[in-house]
């Protein structure tokens, strides 16, 4: 067995060696390509391909930040989380179900006024009855129940959804609140979808 594991590891490493033969492109060169790829985009759209500090750092680190960088990014993102002024992190789970299920919004093919959803099901299993779920993220089935519907945990989930990287630097999950993709109310609603005892997530 050991031999087989070793062989597997070696294959993995030789794959990396192949990738590392490539010299990394310098930032200015990459930026030149980025500029030309979106040369004709409107200023509002062009703004989207400008990276913030965290996006740039995670890109360069290929989403594998060093421990020090991990701490730094996580701390910075944590400091940027804005909790609801009224202190309530739970909204209406039924509206939250819509947030979780909707994959439209924010695409260049979406007309003005298109409802913007969080598309959580693209990456997560949630209500067990919904079979069309992705596997880019962990299953969230029974999420609130497994945490005894604790207020503390609900607040943590709100922070996670608001800014996934406030918990884990370079997480692949979008920073829904931080990037103003979802509204505060939508984040409250989807948090309720995870934490309401009546939500199908917990059935």
């Amino acid at each position: 067995m050991k031999k087989i594991l070793l062989a597997a590891c070696l294959t993995a490493i030789s794959g990396t060696a192949f990738a590392q033969q490539t010299v990394k492109a310098d930032a200015a060169t990459v930026d030149r390509y980025v500029q030309s790829m979106w040369a004709k985009a409107s200023p509002e759209w062009k703004a989207r391909v400008v990276q913030d500090e965290t996006q740039a750092e995670c890109s360069v680190a290929r989403n594998n930040p060093s421990p020090a960088q991990f701490e730094k990014i996580t701390a910075r993102e944590k400091a940027a989380v804005v909790f609801p002024a009224d202190g309530k992190v739970l909204g209406d789970w039924k509206s939250g179900a819509k947030v979780a299920n909707t994959g439209t919004g924010g695409q260049f093919s979406d007309g003005p006024g298109t409802y913007i959803g969080g598309n959580c099901y693209a990456c997560h299993q949630m209500a067990p009855a919904e079979l069309s779920f992705g596997t880019l993220g962990p299953s969230l089935t029974g999420y609130g129940k497994a945490r005894n519907f604790s207020a503390e945990e609900a607040k943590a989930a709100y922070a996670k959804i608001y800014n996934a990287q406030s918990v884990m630097a370079c997480s692949q999950m979008p920073r829904f609140g931080h990037n103003k993709f979802l509204t505060e109310q939508q984040i409250k609603d989807v948090t309720a979808f995870l934490f309401d005892p009546d939500s199908p997530v917990n059935k």
């Binding site: 794959g15 990738a19 010299v23 004709k40 985009a41 596997t135």
Partner: protein, 275 residues
């Protein structure tokens, strides 16, 4: 590669080992299915992509532009008018243009330089739709089909080809936009799904990239169109909530260079049929 990734790989390997008995039993069925699929792809009567191949063949020989000549004088890298195996080595560096080009960029260049054709209309119809035939889709189908049965041979010897590969790799990992997405978000791990759609992993060389790159251009049943890699990446950038990428821009070519490099040795079987 970080340790976590290696261990995940080892874990995946062990899972494969434990599962291998039932998997082996299913293999013959799966192989039969693949055989059936291959036969369908290669059957011009069953694969609507071949309509595009036929239109492309006619277009290739049609005299157009101020010079009133066909595209037969176009050099796709293997010599003027030589089509066999040309697609298997694209994108590549072209001395006359002093640039690395993918097939679509090269075709546009030939239309402009060889035929002196005003490409405004061709560009307007770059993607076909209901009632709109696309010259580019048809030509790509025809030319790529001439490399069937051959293996991808990425060209990364010229410094400009090497730059393309390095930039392609960087663009693949470049996170931006309202969802913080990069290509890696969806194509960076093995055996992942978005909703029910399987996502190939292009972050390393191997089967996923080989199978994928060897199967484009493809006839997309959901769109009733023969689609090229330019369209696929347009669609992925749409899902990434990025702006519309410029058709035939160097960034798309850089990503293509990166992906054919990951898919080196993949066998070309096109036009394929996909969802």
């Amino acid at each position: 590669m970080d340790r976590m990734k290696i261990c995940r790989l080892v874990a995946a390997f062990v899972t494969t080992l434990t599962l291998s008995a039932p998997v082996l039993a299913q293999q013959s069925d799966a192989e039969k299915e693949i055989e059936r699929y291959r036969a369908m792809i290669n059957d011009p009567m069953a694969n609507p992509g071949y309509l595009a191949v036929d239109r492309g063949e006619a277009l290739w020989a049609t005299k157009r532009g101020a010079k009133n000549v066909s595209l037969e004088g176009c050099d796709l890298g293997e010599g003027a008018g030589k089509l066999e195996g040309a697609f298997a080595k694209l994108p590549r560096f072209f001395k006359d243009a002093d640039r690395v080009m993918d097939l679509e960029q090269r075709l546009l260049w030939c239309m402009q330089k060889v035929q002196e054709l005003d490409t405004t209309d061709v560009l307007k119809r770059r993607f076909g739709g209901p009632g709109v035939e696309s010259d580019m889709q048809d030509l790509v189908a025809f030319i790529a089909n001439k490399s069937n049965g051959m293996k991808y041979q990425p060209q990364i010897t010229h410094p400009k080809e090497q730059e393309m590969l390095a930039v392609g790799e960087a663009l693949f990992h470049r996170r931006a936009g309202v969802n913080d997405f990069s290509c890696t978000t969806c194509h960076g791990e093995d055996a992942r799904r978005i909703r029910l759609q399987a996502l190939p992993n292009f972050s390393k060389p191997g089967k996923d990239a080989q199978d994928t790159m060897g199967s484009w251009p493809t006839y997309r049943v959901s769109q009733s169109q023969l689609r090229t890699m330019q369209h696929r990446l347009w669609d992925c950038y749409r899902q990434m909530r990025h702006p519309i990428p410029e058709y035939g821009s160097d960034g798309i070519t850089a990503l293509t260079v990166y992906m054919v490099t990951m898919g080196a040795g993949g066998e070309i079987t096109v036009p394929s049929i996909k969802r």
